[in-house]
């Protein structure tokens, strides 16, 4: 599936500061339904903070965020999740004491409804529900080719696999908007290629809108439909990879020309 012109999420004049430190200053951009949108910028540019604002973990002092046509005043992270925003993290944030399977099953939490009573009995409706979701999770496990580590506690997995499990957990939420924070950091070439393929497959086959932060320019330029560039919390460029690549401000920011 390719990008449409319909706006899924619009960030409008958002500013965020911690105490006196300004993390984001008056940034606006939009994410269209079905596109892969990259957010790039040097270290400390406010990229992760931006994602945190989008899924309600930080609350900006100024600005508006419109998601699916609705402007939300103050949103809690779990509300973002229930509206279909999922994400992965820069430093893998898996549930380390749990197995791969359980981690991904946690992603199904919002879709499971049986209460304490049936859970206690683990029989009838609760069991049926459990199995039904297990099927979905097994599909994700198949898709990500992590069958062999199904029952391994994730704390013991190598970094690359952990990133993959984390992606699986986000996918289990069947998100409309998937936020990926440096999905390929610390990976070798092959792992990166795998990850790229998963991302593209997701976007093409399931139509998931993806916003990603990535440092590997090659990956960004190949994957993304549009790119927004942040520097010191300001937006300095926004557009297709070609446009952004040619922007002198971006070149300056990355190469430090003139400083």
């Amino acid at each position: 599936m390719t990008a449409t012109s319909e706006t899924l999420l619009a960030v409008d004049g958002v500013s965020l500061s911690f105490g006196g430190v300004k993390a984001i200053t008056d940034v606006s951009f939009d994410i269209r339904k079905g596109e892969i949108r990259a957010i790039i910028g040097p270290n400390g540019a406010g990229k992760t903070s931006m994602l945190n604002v989008v899924n309600g973990f930080y609350h900006p002092q100024h600005g508006r965020i419109t998601y699916k046509g609705k402007t939300r005043p103050r949103m809690r992270p779990y509300q973002a999740a229930s509206q279909g925003i999922a994400r992965t993290f820069q430093n893998v944030a898996l549930f380390k004491g749990m197995t791969t399977l359980d981690n991904i099953m946690v992603g199904r939490t919002l879709k499971m409804h049986r209460g304490l009573f049936w859970q206690m009995l683990r029989y009838g409706p609760a069991m049926r529900e459990e199995i039904e979701h297990r099927r979905v999770v097994e599909d994700i496990i198949d898709f990500l080719q992590i069958e062999s580590i199904r029952k391994t506690p994730v704390g013991k997995l190598p970094y690359g696999l952990q990133k993959r499990v984390e992606l699986g957990r986000a996918l289990a939420m069947e998100p409309e908007l998937l936020l990926l924070d440096e999905p390929m950091a610390g990976m070798n070439i092959e792992e990166k290629e795998d990850m790229c393929r998963y991302i593209l497959d997701l976007n093409k086959h399931f139509g998931t809108t993806i916003a990603l932060i990535e440092h590997d320019m090659g990956v960004v330029m190949d994957l993304s439909d549009r790119v927004v560039v942040l520097e010191y919390g300001h937006k300095i460029a926004d557009g297709t990879p070609e446009v952004v690549k040619a922007d002198p401000k971006v070149i300056e920011a990355y190469l430090g020309v003139g400083h």
Partner: protein
């Protein structure tokens, strides 16, 4: 060699989702239950039943309750004895107000009162974490204990200030009071503990258990998965306190027979915490291991000099018991910080590859 899941293929997710997916585990469990239900009552003497097994099971139940909170949800609590007290006092009040209803009903219902109080004291857990939360739960411990002393309505104005257990029967058989035999008491406790352990195990293996563990392992990520922290933590407090409450009611009604408020003092809270940590955080079987180590081991040590005919004074034995238990706590933590349950897993793993080392 014998403990191996090779060749056991699962035809369905249902079979794979079972709590004990491996045949040998199921056989082992059946053997344990057989011993517990048949061998122990048949061959155990009164001391074994009344002073070893009944307290062990009741403490295990309390440890499971605390484990749900500390081990599964990652909320450190030092107030579990007070929640046990709430259960005990609730069961006492209910059974004296409605003496006609079977005592077991009230023992189980007492858990709901403990759960309610637990939720109340769990509220701060949204903001307070780690050791800070532990100290906050100490407020519950001391305040509730003060209530047990001060609110004489709770103990029906007994001049002894204690709750006394009236004799009650089940199917015509005395289960509480002086004429309840240790075997009956043991079997009643065993049934309750086995059923409640099964239910707890089901809960922690399902969605709710995963929610708790997610909150424990990384609460921020859990939130972004759509988990609401406060309800999840409060549910953990509720279920945990329910278990503690029932365990407290059992303690007074089927073990002690009468209890002063000091039966629920801070020492008991610490003991439960020992059991949970030594046994293994986030492990059902670990709760039993922990209770066994903390409750049974001192009894064994105390019994050793007599059994071996060594003339050691009772007080010295007690000192030695403290020394040895303390040393063993440190020893076990060094050998396996993740508790006896992990040792158990390692042992199973070794069995799996036996007789070859790898």
């Amino acid at each position: 060699m014998f403990y191996r899941e090779t060749g056991q293929f699962k035809q369905s997710y249902a079979a794979d989702q079972a709590v004990f997916p491996i045949l040998q585990d199921r056989l082992g469990l059946a053997a344990i239950l057989l011993v517990a239900f048949v061998v122990v009552p048949l061959f155990g003497n009164e001391f074994l039943l009344a002073s070893v097994m009944v307290p062990f099971l009741i403490l295990s139940l309390g440890a499971i309750g605390l484990n749900i909170l500390v081990g599964y949800t990652g909320l450190l609590s030092l107030g579990s004895a007070a929640f046990m007290g709430v259960g005990a006092y609730a069961a006492y009040k209910l059974s004296t107000i409605f003496p006609g209803v079977n005592i077991l009903v009230w023992i189980l219902c007492s858990g709901f009162f403990a759960a309610g109080i637990g939720v109340l004291f769990g509220l701060p857990s949204l903001r307070i974490k780690g050791f800070y939360l532990a100290v906050a739960t100490l407020a519950a411990q001391f305040f509730l204990q003060w209530c047990f002393v001060r609110i004489s309505w709770l103990y029906n104005d007994n001049p002894s200030g204690a709750i006394e257990v009236p004799a009650r029967t089940l199917f015509g058989l005395a289960i509480t009071g002086p004429s309840a035999t240790p075997v009956t008491r043991y079997l009643v406790v065993l049934v309750i503990v086995v059923v409640m352990t099964l239910l707890a195990s089901n809960i922690v293996h399902g969605r709710i258990g995963r929610t708790w563990m997610a909150v424990r392992d990384m609460d921020i990520a859990a939130q972004l998965m759509g988990i609401r922290l406060l309800p999840a933590k409060l549910l953990a407090f509720a279920v945990s306190s329910f278990y503690c409450g029932v365990s407290g009611a059992l303690m007074v009604f089927l073990w002690l027979g009468a209890a002063e408020p000091s039966a629920f003092d801070i020492k008991l809270s610490f003991l439960l915490l020992f059991m949970v940590i030594i046994g293994g955080l986030g492990s059902m079987i670990g709760s039993f291991f922990g209770a066994a180590l903390i409750h049974i081991l001192p009894i064994v040590i105390r019994g050793l000099p007599e059994a071996l005919g060594l003339p050691i004074a009772a007080a010295t034995v007690e000192h030695l018991t403290y020394l040895i238990v303390g040393a063993l706590i440190i020893f076990f933590l060094i050998v396996e910080p993740h508790g006896l349950a992990r040792l158990w897993q390692i042992a199973k793993q070794k069995l799996r590859v036996w007789p070859f080392p790898y």
